[in-house]
């Protein structure tokens, strides 16, 4: 039996149960002993705690439209080629099924590991709703082929990102960590909590609070929340019933 280069702690500690859960896990791979690993993790996921662990659960990813709870699986590799081969293997089927995407960080000095990346892309990387990010720790300023390689790999669903890049490119696209955050923002996460859920929360909360200390501002807030909630209802019956409930509730205040 060949030696494995993969950290199987993820498989033992929750992926089996996560199999039935939303596909909201991100696998991050770093070269062994990389000192800035924690810095990179905390710059991508500022809200995460325990970033030194290999499994970080319940990281809240928040945008102005939604929030979602995601799990981070952090691994290290000696040899990326072998690590990717292990990830492609049968032992990692369940892990792959639980992953939303993969972020690989490595210093690219002598060209991209195209062979192993292409095998990975063919077998895993081109799934729907799956992202792959390859972050180069080296400076890309003097790398003339970097932009071309970026475009080449973007077609295969792999985004090349320079860790030291920042700001915007000529098209107004974010660079560096900002781009990673943008990819995570626009990913089709499962079981997100949108502002509509918040609206439901607002309505429920104010109902629970009772009407004794309800002032006008609260009534208006409640109406606004009700209006938003109403606009999302699909059937007329549901909408009518909801409107009736709100009207009954409000009539008590007056």
């Amino acid at each position: 039996m060949t030696e494995s280069h993969f950290n199987y702690e993820f498989l033992q500690s929750g992926v089996r149960t996560a199999f039935q859960m939303p596909r909201n896990k991100v696998l991050l791979a770093f070269p062994k002993g990389l000192q800035i690993k924690s810095d990179i993790l905390s710059s991508i996921f500022p809200s995460s705690k325990d970033i030194d662990c290999s499994v970080v659960r319940g990281v809240v990813w928040e945008t102005k439209y939604y929030s979602v709870s995601i799990d981070l699986y952090v691994d290290e590799f000696d040899d990326l080629e072998k690590w990717l081969a292990d990830l492609r293997g049968d032992d990692c089927i369940e892990l792959r099924q639980a992953l939303a995407g993969l972020i690989i960080t490595l210093p690219i000095q002598d060209g991209l590991p195209k062979k192993s990346l292409n095998s990975y892309i063919e077998e895993i990387g081109q799934q729907d709703d799956y992202f792959t990010i390859l972050m180069n720790l080296e400076s890309t300023q003097d790398n003339t082929s970097w932009e071309e390689e970026k475009d080449e790999f973007a077609l295969s669903g792999v985004e090349l990102i320079g860790y030291l890049e920042e700001g915007l490119n000529e098209f107004g696209e974010r660079l560096g960590i900002g781009r990673i955050r943008e990819i995570l923002d626009t990913h089709d996460w499962q079981e997100i909590h949108t502002s509509e859920d918040y609206t439901t929360y607002e309505i429920t909360k104010s109902s629970e609070e009772g009407c004794d200390d309800l002032d006008l501002a609260k009534i208006i807030k409640k109406l606004e929340a009700a209006k938003l909630k109403y606009s999302t209802m699909k059937t007329e019956e549901e909408a009518k019933a909801f409107a009736q409930d709100i009207a009954d509730e409000l009539s008590e205040y007056f």
């Binding site: 439209y65 973007a154 098209f171 696209e173 923002d185 626009t186 909408a239």
Partner: protein, 156 residues
């Protein structure tokens, strides 16, 4: 005059964010156009021309941040530069409406993006409005009507 056949909005990762068809295509033809144009446009280098020939018509595209705006136009009657201007006006209007629009705004408010596009282009693919202020005013009126309508429904 413009005679746009379709407008597609595709992300750098090849995901379709918006699509509007102004000519008649079957579902199979639409899928083929989306698939082929996504590959063709995303594989073009930044310095390459923004106009290409495709099937029996031309395609004009422009990239804004991580989004590609792709228009199919009639090769004989349409003007490529005018099409680029239409794309730019659509982006400018969305930018003003969303206050610095990003891909996430379009994903979560795609109906608003369609409303803005409907104010720019008519259902036959010709320009209906070029004034950004007028478009924004129309959209604001629609928003007000929608809000008051919903409120009336809740209160009635």
């Amino acid at each position: 005059m413009t005679d746009i056949k379709y407008m597609l909005l595709v992300s750098r990762q090849g995901k379709s964010r918006l699509m509007k068809w102004y000519s008649v295509y079957t579902a199979k033809e639409k899928a083929k156009i989306i698939r082929e144009l996504t590959t063709a446009v995303l594989s073009r280098k930044p310095k390459m021309c923004n106009i290409l020939e495709y099937q029996d018509h031309k395609v004009v595209y422009k990239r804004y941040a991580s989004l590609y705006f792709i228009c199919g136009i009639n090769a004989d009657t349409d003007n490529e530069l005018l099409t680029l201007e239409i794309i730019h006006r659509f982006v400018e209007t969305m930018d003003a409406y969303f206050n610095n629009v990003c891909e996430l705004d379009i994903i979560f408010n795609f109906n608003k993006a369609y409303n803005i596009l409907d104010e720019v282009l008519m259902c036959d693919g010709s320009i209906t409005e070029t004034s950004k202020q007028d478009i924004l005013r129309h959209i604001a009126t629609m928003d007000t009507l929608e809000t008051s309508d919903n409120l009336n429904k809740v209160l009635s």
